[in-house]
């Protein structure tokens, strides 16, 4: 499936704004992304398996917080990184 990558993480994908990755769940998708682009998962998920602040994952426009959410091959995933602070 297609995964949209936020601009701050596109250095991991060599500038690609959309990449292909697979997974039966969001967690599996992120693991597959990390296998293809090493290090990218840790920028979204910390070592306690929690989403980092201001990282949002949308599946077909639905905000997802449960990394166990099932995915279908036709799903469209958008990862969004908020920017805040001075």
């Amino acid at each position: 499936m297609q995964v949209a990558i936020p601009s701050v993480l596109q250095s991991y994908t060599n500038g690609a704004r959309v990449v292909a990755a697979n997974g039966a769940t969001v967690a599996a998708l992120l693991a597959d992304l990390d296998a293809r682009y090493p290090g990218i998962r840790f920028r979204m998920i910390n070592e306690a398996d929690a989403l980092r602040p201001h990282v949002r994952i949308f599946v077909n426009r639905e905000a997802v917080t449960d990394l166990g959410r099932p995915l279908a091959p036709s799903d469209a995933v958008v990862i969004v990184q908020a920017l805040s602070g001075g």
Binding site: A4, Y12, R17, V19, Y37, F42, N46, A82, L83, S84
Partner: protein
């Protein structure tokens, strides 16, 4: 095609994500955040490395230190807590940074800052055995090169208080289990809700130049720790200090050593700028002696940094701050000055020549450093983005750079090959 996401939630602006049609071929890429140097960079000679809230800047000295040239930044827009040059090869730099909301990491350069590569395994806590300790590294706060006999080894101190070690020059980091998994870790590091606004880090990781297994570090929640088995076990070293918290001024732990230094040529001698004064300890004694009582009463002995003369164990510099009532954390009276002792803290001399008559800033714990020239240069960075230097051991000060971001650390390196 997926929808463009562009929304505002209060003051949080979501970044733009526009998805073009089609997919791209899979091409594994090297790990890297976008940390390009703003301009091509290859450091040489005596250099003051300045880590700031918005990146790393460099002040390179002309021969004789008559002039400093500002270079950089690297890592523009990234929060950099510490940037340290490896004294063992004088060409490797490690940088501890936090990248917006993307969490903490470490970058390294082995070519005088010309190119950078992210750690493939940044410092991160192991999965907790104790459910109460479900923590994640929020900041990599402190970096210390390992012992001279251990090339490639470095230590990192984090917030919350984690200790990590690399043996491959900063590429992969492992937790020091003797500390991170210590049965008293939660007791020593305290309730997460009581942490400092910017976190409570491990700092001042000091390695005995005579013995790689003998180390110290400080924390803002418990105090000073010592190991003689390279981190397998730790003991407190707090006797003599004053505690800022609780009704007992001398508890077993609960101290706040802001910055601790070990003299490289007299490694039994420790100095410390504490939340509650300036202290010295001469091992094997295990009692801190408050040498800040010898500071002028109207200035006090509160502050963050302390720097030591590279050759004379009796000479040290501090930058006092206002620690009265609500702790303004500015220069006492708005009059910036460095204080220097030449006699191990028995007496202190005010050094303010060159500083403005009035200024309201602080120098943080990593933001004062010295060079190793015959007449020692002393350098400090301020919270309002200035870097000041003295090439005569503090007698006269010059503003070397202004209008930088909030300075988090100042280190001095000699990149001479």
């Amino acid at each position: 095609m997926l929808a463009r996401v562009d929304r505002h939630i209060g003051e949080v602006t979501m970044s733009e994500t526009t998805v073009p049609p089609g997919s791209r071929a899979f091409e594994p890429m090297p790990v890297s955040l976008d940390v390009r140097n703003v301009e091509p960079l290859s450091l040489a000679g005596l250099t003051v490395v300045v880590a700031t809230k918005k990146g790393v800047f460099y002040l390179t000295a002309a021969p004789g230190r008559a002039r400093f040239t500002l270079l950089g930044p690297s890592f523009l827009g990234h929060i950099v807590h510490h940037a340290v040059v490896d004294p063992r090869d004088r060409r490797t730099l490690l940088v501890a940074l936090r990248t917006g909301h993307l969490g903490p990491t470490v970058f390294r350069s082995t070519d005088f800052g010309a190119s950078w590569r992210e750690a493939s395994k940044p410092p991160a806590f192991a999965k907790p055995k104790d459910a109460r300790k479900s923590v994640a590294v929020e900041q990599v706060f402190w970096l210390t090169p390992g012992h001279a006999d251990e090339p490639g080894a470095w230590y990192a101190g984090t917030s919350p208080e984690g200790l990590f070690r690399t043996e491959d020059g900063g590429d992969t980091w492992q937790g020091v289990a003797g500390w991170n998994d210590h049965p008293k870790w939660i007791e020593w590091t305290g309730d997460m809700s009581q942490r400092n606004p910017d976190g409570s880090p491990i700092h001042s990781i000091l390695i005995d130049p005579r013995d790689a297994k003998h180390m110290y570090f400080g924390t803002g929640s418990a105090g000073v720790f010592e190991t003689t088995d390279q981190g397998a076990s730790w003991k407190l070293l707090n006797t003599g200090m004053l505690s800022p918290t609780g009704p007992d001024p001398h508890p077993e732990f609960g101290y706040d050593p802001h910055c601790m230094q070990l003299h490289p040529r007299a490694p039994d001698l420790l100095y410390q700028q504490n939340h509650c004064g300036i202290y010295r300890m001469h091992r094997p004694d295990a009692r801190w002696v408050r040498i800040g009582d010898n500071m002028p009463r109207d200035v006090g002995d509160i502050g963050f940094p302390i720097a030591l003369h590279p050759r004379d164990p009796q000479t040290a510099w501090v930058f006092p701050m206002d620690g009265t009532d609500v702790w303004p954390r500015t220069c006492p009276g708005g009059r910036p000055a460095v204080y220097r002792t030449r006699d191990g803290g028995e007496s202190w001399t005010r050094l303010d020549a060159g500083f403005p008559a009035r200024a309201w800033y602080t120098v943080l714990r990593q933001s004062m450093a010295v060079d190793a020239e015959p007449t020692v240069g002393v350098y400090l960075g301020t919270t309002n983005g200035e870097v000041w230097g003295s090439v005569d051991e503090g007698e006269r000060w010059t503003c070397l750079a202004a209008h930088l971001p909030h300075v988090y650390s100042v280190e001095v390196a000699d990149f001479s090959t």
